[in-house]
Amino acid sequence: MAYETVLGLEVHIQLDTASKLFCACPNEFAGEPNTRVCPVCLGLPGALPTLNEGAAAMVARLGLALGSTVHARSIFARKNYFYPDMPKNYQISQYDAPIVTGGALDIGSSTEPRLIPITRVHLEEDTGKSAHPEKHGDREETRLDFNRCGVPLAEMVSEPALRSPDEAFAYLTALRRLVRWLGISDGDMEKGSLRCDANVSLRPVGATAFGTRSEIKNLNSIAGVRNAIAAEVERQAALLDKGEKIVQATLLWDQDKERLQVMRTKEEAHDYRYFPEPDLPPLEFSAAALALETKNLPELPLARARRFEASLGLSAYDADLLTDSRDLAEYFEETVSAGGPAKAAANWIGNDVLRTLKETGGTLAAFRESLPPKRFGAFLALASGGTLSSKLARDLFARMIEEPGDPAELAKKHGLVQESDTGALLAVAEQVLDANPSVVADFLGGKEKALTFLVGQLMKQTKGRANPAVAQDVLKEALGRRAAPR
């Protein structure tokens, strides 16, 4: 039987604030266990949370970028359950009044939108980590690290509107780009900055009612999400084909073994006993604060790609490539503003700049320091003026990264200018002919192709500086002279 896959994703986005959500401890990755803790994030008796408003503003920004409703007033709630790495045995989260509801994430391209509706985005605190049990002395112990406790998370829940593992992949890719674009998270799934749970169900093609769903947890790479969902789709389809029922369950994805295992079934589900967090007043955004956040919202990736296509004449491919990150798009656009022709800028950034970054392992920010848009734009103007061979242009590009200075001056300093002087080139041409008598003979014997070799030799002698058209002319002239006396 043919089934339609129905997917909803819940993604925890670790917010890139300086301090934790409810205390002043630094929000940093890793570190010696239990060194970034205080009475508040350790949940010591008597300690109280106070809200990091920067984290709330980040959730609002995400909501605005998704076209959601950002509520002027939202409520924190306690989610109660016992877990050793959660020191209060409740998590401060949001329940029936989240910051953000509605909106959509566009997982399509600049030319083909695909909107996935969003249910909600809310703010909550992270838990600590339990190490795997280990022998310490004569007993086995599970050790706890509370450094991550209280790190701010935005939980973003999609409607069950995704239809394939590939769409789930596209959703996470688009979300990762968006959170980086907005500067609210590094979006690094391997580091746990994005954590995904997937709700998966199947229904016969054409059916409108949802099937029984399972929830897959512990998805910590974008590829892992695709593989886990594909495996679950396969498992459910096989059960349904056999006429069996799907049992609502929570599954864990084992990344190493690429296998799903059942964590708990519905009967074992928690009753979280949510109730409003009495230690925190309702979270309020004034109209002015929201207006400011809206005003400061950057142009979003797909809108920017569309503008690059429409007003700069870029191909959809180039526009997509250049909007992979906001830094890259900014770099491109500033380079164009500095006089670099758009298509040349797109080509050079798409090829040479990205290759350089890949080879050196450097960041765009660092690269930008060595080759600011202003100089890059001037360089591109020069390179596109027809006075530089592509070889010279590449050499000059390499020089520009190495040392400061105006591109024209650098070119002059390093002799990276085209030689078009007939007299000077004629002298070199004579040397080339003298050094290659047999090739000269071939040419004079009627083998026209031999000229290409001689041009190449002349270019080599001049280190590529010779104007190719002039080079050909002077070689022909010199060859003609040698033919005459006979």
């Binding site: 009475p39 008796p45 109280l48």
Partner: protein
Amino acid sequence: MSRPLWQESAGTIAERVESGALAVDDVVRAHEEVAEAWEPHVHAYLTRVKGGIRPNGEAPAKRKLLSGVPVAIKDNLCTQGVATTCGSRILEGYVPPYDATVVKRLKAHGAVIVGKTNLDEFAMGSSTENSGFGTSRNPYDVTRVPGGSSGGSAVAVATGSAAVALGSETGGSVRQPASFTNLLGLKPTYGRLSRYGLVAFASSMDQVGIFSRSASDGARVLAALSGHDPLDATSLPGPALDFDALDLGEGAARGLTVGVPRALLGEGLDDDVAEGQRIVEAALQAAGATVREVTLLPPSSWVATYYLLATAEASSNLARFDGVRYGLRAPAKNVLDLYRETREAGFGAEVKRRILLGTYALSAGYYDAYYGKAQKARRRIQEDLLAALEGCDALLFPTAPTPAFKIGEKADDPLAMYLSDIFTIGANLAGLPALSVPAGFTGGGLPVGVQFTARAAREDLLYRLAAALEHQLSDPLERRWPTKPS
């Protein structure tokens, strides 16, 4: 001066220590002698600190209000380096790494903390009989309870081992013991005093409270400890009470209007308490205040509403006591057993009862019927009290329906025990400030008390009314001290 040091007011001690006329060591020693004489009979303290906890490196307040003043504090306020048990076996030996904000401010004002006082476990009770470390006794009759849950603090001030004391209130835990021990007991406006470092029972109602023997001393402590605390998100904005601007002279109540909800004073009210109410009404009129009748809904709904909300919050607040990180840890084979065994051994019967009640009230399927409904009732009660306060400056009615009861009398009847808070709970539900003041003695020599309730942040009115009564009825320095049993 003929009066012994331990009978002096906090104000006199502070002024004389500040001026250099009095040595802190002498003050502390005089109070320690009282404690040593009384402790075998009353058991006010769980921890006494020889020489007191002195200010140690805290930045001193601009105008120190409590220099050298011996203060006893309830053992649910965190003290850095000094055990804080909340009267519970589950926290036996727990030493907090930080000071509660009110403790910090006591130190900044030069106060000397003489010890940590006994209480009903986690402040749950009305007699201190629920303490995990023995019952405190009423110094006016050691066969009777001192009230609770802040019974130890009341006893300390009533016997003179401390000049003033801090307690905490969730439903009357300062006012009720104050009325049983011939003291003033203030439950400030919710948010008036920081809860940071007060071990939570029911966060939406918990408030640090003040025991004093005079209006002036109580206002002095409130002035020292109030003012916004950025570590408590529910702390009121704005500055501390201005002690120097407060007029507590003979005319302090002139022109004020006091509303009496006459319907409350019916059935079940002890004759001596009713007599106390009459004496106070007459004294207020003599002091130039107007007394008029107001209507109030019957307080029967207060108890039900309170016990649903307070227990719900408590069930979550007390989840952190699990044996994983601090306090008692029962031997166990796995983490679930660790939770069970630790909580079984560490919590007393009343705490367990309230955790169960609260867990039930928040459970799926019951939330709306219990917690949700109680929240609505709470708003109704708040509106009712505010409506009664329209047209008057304060309400006046008894603090407790009876004077101190016998130890053991209500220990096996939780409902009867809960009803001893019937008059005090309203202020906690509504977040309003209320002050219990002495209203004479029964024929058998037991103190009785009545209380004033005012609009939010109007503690100044409460202390003015109390001061006026002192001028009319009895000088606090000529108080009737309890007699030590031989």
